[in-house]
């Protein structure tokens, strides 16, 4: 009887402490695991792109905007942006059935919106390209790194080059896209380069913002 009581008492006391200690230990382990998990997932899990290769400027007869009333310039066929290593053919882009800008069929090529003026003629010519694919960088991955004054070359079907200088680099939320500034009429030869940017929304699988580079033809 006494012995049993002693045993019971001895068991009861350490059991409470043991449970409490276990709670502390389990709690700390859980918190530690959580912190570790958080730290691991917070680490910049940004896939690394290959190093930037700056390209030489293309060569060819540079033709500034034609005099008002002159014949139209030729269609754009390719794009070179030496400072961010972009060289791409230009596909034709139209509109989607919902009226949005069609995007290039692959992420490795840029496209000219055929509803916009031809690059190098009066007006705001529009070229769009992807920032990335599901697995890696797209043709305009480094577009947002362009600096004011950087050159952009558009080669046309007749072999002539239109040369632009970057004037502005902006990022806009897609739900506040400045349609008039990007697609509206301007009285001199300008270029808009469009890609995605900002936060990627994994539920809609799309970026929430657009990067827009404004450039003006240099003569």
């Amino acid at each position: 009887m006494r012995g049993g009581g002693r045993h019971a008492r001895r068991r009861r006391m350490p059991a409470g402490r043991r449970t409490a200690a276990l709670l502390v230990a389990a709690g700390l382990v859980a918190a530690g695991a959580g912190a570790a998990g958080l730290a691991l997932t917070r680490h910049p899990d940004v896939p690394q792109a290959a190093a930037l290769v700056v390209l030489p400027a293309p060569t060819g007869p540079i033709e500034a905007a034609p005099a008002p009333g002159a014949a139209q310039v030729a269609e754009p066929v390719s794009l070179v942006i030496p400072s961010i290593g972009v060289t791409s053919a230009l596909v034709h882009l139209g509109l989607t059935s919902s009226g949005a800008l069609q995007v290039p069929p692959t992420t490795s090529v840029a496209g000219w919106y055929t509803g916009s003026p031809r690059p190098g003629s009066i007006g705001s010519a529009v070229i769009a390209g992807h920032i990335d694919s599901v697995t890696g960088p797209g043709i305009f991955f480094r577009l947002s790194q362009l600096q004011r004054g950087d050159r952009v070359y558009v080669k046309r079907a007749d072999g002539t080059l239109a040369v632009f200088a970057v004037t502005e680099v902006q990022m806009y939320a897609k739900d506040a896209f400045p349609t008039a500034a990007v697609y509206g009429a301007v009285p001199d030869p300008e270029l808009r380069l469009i890609t995605c940017g900002g936060t990627f929304d994994y539920t809609t699988r799309s970026y929430l913002s657009n990067t827009v580079v404004y450039a003006k033809e240099v003569s």
């Binding site: 409470g16 402490r17 449970t19 409490a20 200690a21 709670l23 502390v24 230990a25 389990a26 709690g27 700390l28 859980a30 918190a31 530690g32 959580g34 998990g37 958080l38 997932t41 940004v46 792109a49 905007a65 008002p68 009333g69 509109l95 919902s98 009226g99 949005a100 800008l101 995007v103 992420t107 509803g115 003629s121 009066i122 007006g123 705001s124 992807h130 920032i131 990335d132 599901v134 991955f141 502005e168 990022m171 806009y172 897609k174 349609t179 008039a180 990007v182 509206g184 009429a185 009285p187 001199d188 469009i194 890609t195 936060t199 990627f200 994994y202 699988r205 970026y207 913002s209 003006k216």
Partner: protein
């Protein structure tokens, strides 16, 4: 004392991940600043006025920003992008000294994003410099067109494009208002008292044109100026130009980890409290009980 410090630590630990989450959200906001510039172009549209030199001065600056030499009748310069502000346009006879008094001058207040044509209009005897506020926005899917009547030979003209009367009885030296037209290519007919002139003129969607009626070597001449161009149809919204392959991963993924940290800390705190609750009163209580148990 020790408990409050412990609690404070828990709160700090729990708050830290939230702070980490807030940083990228704050840096995502990007400011946008519009550049304050407008455009000016200069034109000589007075038929019997000899060539002129045209000077553009920024207000308060005596050295000209732009000088166009020997500008003859019918010449319209390309647009020059200039910072916003007040400007003076001065016309001098071709070859006259820059310091000589100008024949004519006009002032222009350049507003951001606006374009202006400063044109010498009328006959030489009544030459004037007129500042035209040029339009840059077209109704969606439409074209804009206006007419400057600069023919002295046909002092009154009517202008018809594809069967649509754009302007009737426009007098010499006058400028019509802008007309909105459905885009297309059509025949432009300019008719006056002494005959008419036709030309095929395309007016594309999203473009702004100025048609200048001039005295040609024989009869009328039409100068079609493309003032501005944009997208005929502006795409709706932004562009879907990314698939996320290079995006930083999982803005929503920290929640389970935060829950684990929170639950773990609560568990540890609960355990810690229980340990303390048993330890603090223990020496007295445990002593009483142990003494009789140990005596035999």
């Amino acid at each position: 004392m020790r408990f409050t410090r412990f609690a404070r630590r828990i709160i700090l630990l729990a708050a830290l991940p939230l702070l980490l989450l807030a940083i990228p959200a704050a840096s995502a906001a990007t400011a946008s600043a519009a550049t304050a510039t407008g455009w000016i172009r200069l034109a000589h549209l007075s038929p019997n006025t000899p060539a002129v030199d045209v000077y553009l001065y920024s207000f308060g600056d005596s050295s000209a920003q732009i000088v166009l030499h020997h500008v003859a009748y019918g010449t319209v310069s390309p647009y020059e992008q200039v910072p916003t502000g007040d400007y003076t346009v001065a016309m001098r006879a071709a070859g006259a000294a820059a310091t000589s008094a100008p024949v004519l001058s006009a002032s222009v207040d350049v507003v951001a994003g606006h374009a202006y044509t400063v044109a010498g209009l009328g006959p030489e005897s009544g030459l004037r410099l007129q500042v035209l506020d040029d339009q840059l926005t077209t109704p969606s899917g439409q074209a804009l067109v206006r007419i400057i009547q600069a023919s002295l030979k046909q002092s009154v003209v009517s202008v018809n494009w594809g069967g649509r009367m754009l302007q009737s009885s426009l007098k010499f030296g006058a400028v019509s208002s802008y007309q909105t037209v459905s885009p297309g290519t059509a025949t432009l007919t300019v008719s006056g008292g002494g005959g008419q002139t036709t030309a095929s003129v395309p007016l594309a969607a999203g473009t702004v044109h100025t048609l200048v009626v001039l005295d040609g070597p024989a009869g009328l001449q039409i100068d079609d100026l493309l003032d501005a161009a944009g997208s005929g149809t502006a795409p709706a919204g932004g562009a879907a130009t990314g698939f996320g392959g290079m995006a930083p991963r999982g803005p929503s993924s920290p929640l389970p980890w935060l829950a684990a940290i929170g639950a773990g800390l609560l568990l540890a705190a609960a355990g810690g409290l229980r340990l303390r609750a048993r330890r603090v009163p223990a020496p007295a209580a445990a002593g009483k009980h142990r003494v009789p148990a140990a005596r035999p």
